[in-house]
């Protein structure tokens, strides 16, 4: 009988341990380890300057708004389960929340659907007062609890220009989060579209001046009546105003991030300082299975004595 010797080789005991490990794996062992989870409110600028097509990244859309949406899809994909996301829109000087933060893994399909439907035509007015909008976003975020972080995404295009920046009433750093700048640093024309989203050219300086006259009561801005007529026929250009956004980030205690690649934004948002450590049950089966795999492979390793073995 061949089973007569109980002096077994090392690889036999490895296999026994592997079998035990796999048997243990069938019991689904978990370990509760603290992991960072995040609670973010994403506020997206939907003013028309966000239609400027100045992104040139392969396989990603060119206009600022679509690029932003693609980046947010990536962020949602990368944030760990247990994190929460809410969505909001910014235009004029207000922020409107679509929904309060909800857990991302369970509700991913709904969040992605809503994100995909964000459109410049949802804007309830056309002006864009960045500072007031940002302050409003901070106030809204504050109402959603201390652990809620704000991600305010804008190109910083202030229309009409304000002579002076409004004063921030809140406490800097009370709401943590990111001010994300989108767009290119070089000036680019702003596409003008009709309500069916068909392109009808670009905004000209004269058009903007006219719009400004139309709601001068609300904005109180200087309409620049002394502007020369030929200058008014020039295109109205927009570029990412990083100087202003960095200044606003400093005033409000947010961090500034320039959106260039979705992956970089996603990584920035996963910085531990923006998350809370929560015990999340980690699946341990992969450790046991890796061990079993190694044990099965060990007998096939070239034996260290093989080279010295005599034929």
């Amino acid at each position: 009988m061949i089973f007569h010797r109980w002096k077994r080789s090392g690889s036999f005991w490895l296999l026994i341990l592997a079998a035990l490990a796999l048997a243990l794996a069938l019991l689904r062992p978990t370990l509760r380890l603290p992991q960072p989870v995040y609670r973010y409110v994403f506020v997206v600028d939907i003013t028309q300057s966000m239609n400027v097509r100045d992104y040139h990244v392969k396989d990603l859309p060119a206009d600022r708004l679509s690029f932003t949406k693609a980046a947010l899809h990536k962020v949602l994909e990368d944030l760990p389960c247990g994190s929460e996301a809410g969505l909001g829109l910014f235009t004029t000087q207000n922020v409107q929340l679509l929904f309060e933060p909800i857990e991302i893994c369970e509700h991913l399909s709904v969040i992605n659907d809503v994100l995909a439907h964000i459109d410049w035509r949802m804007a309830w007015a056309a002006n864009s007062h960045i500072a007031q909008g940002l302050y409003a976003g901070i106030r809204e975020t504050q109402k959603l609890g201390d652990e809620t972080r704000l991600v305010f995404i804008t190109d910083g295009q202030q229309t009409p220009p304000l002579p002076q920046r409004p004063v921030f009433q809140g406490k800097p750093g009370a709401v943590k989060g990111w001010l994300v700048g989108v767009g290119g640093l070089g000036p680019a024309p702003i596409p003008r579209m009709d309500m069916d989203n068909r392109s009808i050219g670009f905004w000209k300086k004269s058009d903007i001046a006219m719009t400004r006259v139309g709601d001068a009561g609300a904005s109180g801005a200087n309409t620049g009546a002394s502007r020369r007529a030929d200058q008014d026929r020039e295109l109205y250009l927009s570029s990412l105003d990083e100087t202003e956004l960095k200044a606003l980030a400093g005033i409000t205690g947010l961090r500034y991030h320039r959106l260039e690649r979705p992956g970089a934004l996603s990584a920035a948002l996963r910085a531990p300082e923006f998350g809370q450590m929560r015990p999340v049950a980690a699946d341990l089966r992969w450790v046991l299975a890796t061990w079993a795999l190694a044990a099965v492979l060990v007998p096939y390793l070239p034996s260290p004595r093989a080279s010295s073995k005599r034929g």
Binding site: A19, Q96, L98, I102, V110, L293, P299, S303
Partner: protein, 327 residues
């Protein structure tokens, strides 16, 4: 059932399964006269069995590590209920409170806050219904698609209590609400629940388009009109027939001629709002076919169980190995 992997790249480990066919896992013994040993079919079969068991174990472990799972599945269920699109006015006037008669508390509650509270309760009681939400002021805002995701609906209704901005422009809101039904199966009741505190004139051409869409999609309309006590009554013909001053009356007339089920509720206090919602709840209970989501199912356990069998077999084989010829 569709299969997917959490970490598909780990499937590359399954290439290791060829190793048992290329090398032998047993220790070679030296024997002076191997050529004398006759061809033994049983030994060959055992050798192949061991190689196959090792390869199968490696394969199962590699697949298991890659994390196979069955995707979420939808199963069909039957109940009673409705597809309900909540069309909420978010114009700045919704920030005002109901002034005038008050039945209960909530004296200082804004109209949008009262509407939010009622809608939360309404939604939480209607477990089989699908809900969508559109907010509108000067332009319509797509808030949620038709969904059964109760937590998402609740989160959207909670945020609808915030400050509104802009004017009331009703037609684009109705058009977007109607578009929610496009491509959805016609089952149960289809309802647009319009909650607004005012109306606006709708162009003749748009009226025709909306009427057509309402009929085509078989959508019923409920209008909860949060009336200011000084505001126009829906049923009362205004003395001044210019529609610019009393758009609500004309909108009500127009809705009545659309040829689809239509009801209007004038709610000038939170209690009336509550009654209106109770009415909707009572009326709209038709058989509804809906889909329920089965969560994704992890399948790696099956792989590990199969690998366990292979490893046990290998351990037996290893136990039978000898390290030297018995004397």
């Amino acid at each position: 059932m569709s299969l997917a992997f959490l970490q598909p790249w780990l499937l590359a480990l399954s290439l290791l399964a060829v190793i048992p066919f290329l090398r032998t896992g047993q220790k070679a013994l030296t024997y002076s006269s191997v050529a004398l040993i006759p061809e033994d079919r049983l030994s060959r079969a055992v050798d192949w069995l061991i190689r196959c068991a090792a390869a199968a174990s490696i394969l199962c472990l590699a697949i298991g590590l890659a994390g196979p799972y069955a995707r979420e599945q939808w199963i069909e269920k039957f109940g009673t209920g409705a597809h309900i699109v909540l069309l909420l006015d978010r114009s700045s006037s919704m920030n005002d409170n109901f002034s005038g008669r008050h039945m209960g508390g909530g004296v200082y509650e804004s109209k949008s806050a009262a509407a939010r509270r009622m809608l939360s309760q309404f939604v939480s009681r209607r477990q089989d219904d699908l809900f969508a939400m559109i907010a509108f002021s000067a332009s319509p805002i797509y808030v949620l698609p038709l969904t059964q995701d109760r937590a998402a609906i609740a989160a959207a209704i909670r945020s609808a209590g915030g400050r509104g901005h802009g004017l009331t422009n009703i037609a684009p809101g109705l058009a977007m609400a109607l578009s929610q039904f496009a491509g959805q199966p016609v089952t149960g009741s289809r309802i647009i629940l319009l909650v607004s505190d005012g109306a606006a004139r709708i162009e003749e051409e748009t009226r025709e388009q909306l009427k057509h869409a309402f009929r085509e999609n078989q959508v019923a309309l409920y209008w909860i009109y949060l009336r200011n006590p000084t505001g126009a009554r829906l049923a009362q013909k205004p003395k001044n027939l210019a529609s610019g001053t009393t758009p609500e009356y004309f909108l009500h007339e127009y809705f009545n001629t659309m040829g689809v089920p239509y009801r209007a509720y004038e709610a000038d206090n939170p209690e009336a709002l509550k009654r209106a919602i109770a009415d909707v709840e009572r009326l709209e209970n038709r058989p509804l076919r809906y889909l329920e989501k089965l969560p994704r199912k992890d399948l790696s356990g099956h792989c590990y169980a199969a690998a366990l069998l292979g490893v046990v077999l290998l351990a037996f084989a290893k136990a039978g190995e000898i390290s030297e010829w018995p004397a």
